[in-house]
Subunit: 511 residues, 2 copies
Amino acid sequence: MSEKKSGPKLTSMKLENADSKAKLKEKRKAEAEKQSARLGLLQRKCKEAGIPVLITFDGYDAAGKGLQINRLIQALDPRGFDVYTGDKQGEEELMHPFLWQFAIKTPANGRIVIFDTSWYRKVQLDRFDGKTSDKEAERAFYDILAFEKQLTDSGMVLIKMFLDISEKEQKKRFEKLEKSSGTSWRVSKADWKRNEHYDKYRKMNQEMIYKTNTQNAPWIIVDSTDKSAAGLAIMTAVADAMERALTLKAAGPRKEILEDAEPADRYKEGPVTRSDLTKSYDRDEYRKRLDALQKRLEYLHSQLYKLRIPVVLGFEGWDAAGKGGAIRRLTSHLDPRGYKVCPTASPNDVERVHHYMWRFWNNFPKDGHIAIFDRTWYGRVMVERLEGFCSEADWRRAYQEINDVEKHLTDSGAVVIKFWINIDKDEQERRFKDRMQNPDKQWKITDEDWRNREKWDLYEVAVNEMIEKTSTKHAPWVVVEGNSKYYARVKVLQTVVDAIEKKIAEVEKEQ
Amino acid sequence: MSEKKSGPKLTSMKLENADSKAKLKEKRKAEAEKQSARLGLLQRKCKEAGIPVLITFDGYDAAGKGLQINRLIQALDPRGFDVYTGDKQGEEELMHPFLWQFAIKTPANGRIVIFDTSWYRKVQLDRFDGKTSDKEAERAFYDILAFEKQLTDSGMVLIKMFLDISEKEQKKRFEKLEKSSGTSWRVSKADWKRNEHYDKYRKMNQEMIYKTNTQNAPWIIVDSTDKSAAGLAIMTAVADAMERALTLKAAGPRKEILEDAEPADRYKEGPVTRSDLTKSYDRDEYRKRLDALQKRLEYLHSQLYKLRIPVVLGFEGWDAAGKGGAIRRLTSHLDPRGYKVCPTASPNDVERVHHYMWRFWNNFPKDGHIAIFDRTWYGRVMVERLEGFCSEADWRRAYQEINDVEKHLTDSGAVVIKFWINIDKDEQERRFKDRMQNPDKQWKITDEDWRNREKWDLYEVAVNEMIEKTSTKHAPWVVVEGNSKYYARVKVLQTVVDAIEKKIAEVEKEQ
């Protein structure tokens, strides 16, 4: 990016002074061997420390991403890393929000993931090629910043490489590739077009780097004209970042400045406390409404599919509130190819070593499908908060993180609704006792349910705070009065039907 | 399938005698409720017993697969099952062997998986539509039988539903679907074509059922004219199969009749014992050959990609034999987007509750890509055999199972090679000691390595047997003389280059 560069530039300064080309080459080789050994060691240390490392490669076509990634991984133990390409834009990728294909591949603790082309393609390649409008790019910048912040806030090391070459150098490389029959297919018309409009493309790239060069995830701009110098710069930058992360981790937990504490009883009262649990339907009313709504939803489901609208429904609520029953009534007339119920239990050992949103990313629906979550990512600000499974800073940060992820979903066209199925403490006791007495239901009740019940008041405060902080216009919370199961089931169905009808009307209007 | 049926027919006989339509309906409803409660209970019992259950739905278009699957899952706890469609034929699916998309989704122990359209599409829909030739169908029948046997031998319950309707009934249903604007898009030209050639299609289906109706995985043919009778039949059949599996499991491990034991010292001598470890190269010879081979492989890699040939390379060998070093030399000039090194460690808790091949299925390469396995599925007949992690029947069965899977890969166009990197006991001792003395290498050596070394002779017998039983024409074992690391690396590269060149020549000839 020569003079006009807007990010830091990496060169191996101390080598530049070498007095001859041969000597320079020799020095570089020795230095590369040193950095390679250092990387191997740091990889093992990061593994021990459970630090996840994410390295992205973007930049100009023919800048040598493939070559450089291969050099980098030669220094690494293959048991500890994965390489993925973000270039892949198959059906699965295109039918999900653009961050999805990356979010589900973020590294577990102690592992390294390398993306050959990252989420930046959305605001770089795709933007230049006209697949991303300026308005979409603005939204994408916001989504990217929020996404990167979530990753680094969770302790992930994020290293973003931008491989830079000049217009002339690029042209030279394209021509060389085209000359050989083994490589000519690698140069596409789109590649040439970007070379022809290099200045315009460069401006776009500069804007991108300017807008996304953050403290937590700075860009590393690598002059890639000289391949071995670039390789050395990359290895050094990765090793430096890993070393820094290890030092920070060894220094102990970050002392975060938390937001001003609100008054202690701020959430004693809230949406849950205020819900009117006397609402009910009798059996006839229930049957009539349920039948009509189920038939309506069946029809709407096929419309969703045709219009490729994804739907995310989250269910939370007190134990025995009737989440399962409500979900069954919701799904009983749906085509199973078009919906999925995703139950959330304690994380297994693969899920436990990933970012807490990772397992939900893995279940977000593709366009035209419904995903129903029986318990959700809100566990972060309920059970994880109250049982101390995460730090105070972690759950306090989570409100914004969750809002950002849900915004990313709705921005990409999804309907997102969260239900809190509410009952009172007496009703819960009645249902617990009923379960204990009924042999067919005994398996549904455990000692843990009784233990959780003792923390009712603490949970009520957490739930009130959660609903107030994460009920947004795009992804609202709906508190469902659940003492009457009939009423609750109908209200859930009605809410879903209304929201889908509204969305369909919007989409049809746009078309 | 009326008179000409070649499989068992399911009807709810005891209900047929009911004296009136209303009474029949009522009886059926009561029976359905009973079966539903039974299913819920059996699901919990199978979960406790760790029994995986796989249910497939195939049959005639518009026979009501979606509806019936949805009815079935209403009776199940959503925390315990997944529904997948085998109709999906996106890029990922088409670039893998046809069993792949199903193999990676087989249930973990204690879970239920339902396929809406299974692997049978290859010999049913795709065959009728002309996408599967008769020759391919023959091969596919073999692959299907081998695949199903592996699953059921491992203790999986496999329930295959064939939903049957008559030509007239199908026509009626198509017409009804076409009348409504909400459902007309569901009926395709291909659907109508299959209806018009119903007799031909029926013959094809009968052949399929005849050829794949096995004891371990019998077909259940469900007359689907009456939806509620069919639903009841399906629920009953699933519950029956689960109950049978529970009874069998409770009866204790199966007393399998093992193949006639071979003489005790049959594998004391074998390919490994015979390998000539004096072979070596000096540094100059090594450098020269290595450079040439690496460049050649780089070129061949791009040809593989263009011709969409997948390559599977398995590496096994004594500890410290030099697998890692050989792999690094193999990959150092390759484009990282086109290859993947898959290290195999002890299974994690997700892998442990799946079929032992499952985690390897997940890593088999798509067309045009290279997958390199650092240790492989042969762990089943080495470490699992010798450490008692599986039963004798399990590992004895594995030779054939592995041959079948590798045949499936090569039949679908893959190059498959397995390397045994061989060193002698003295050389291993030298390398272990070297690792202990070198601070940079100490992490590579553990007490377990020394413990494994004590079992050298037992391993040698197992390795000899393994190589003799699984070195096939389509997927050969190559014993690599490894006392000289230089020699070993060159031989690996040379073998890979030769095999790929041969394959490319074959493919080009076919085109």
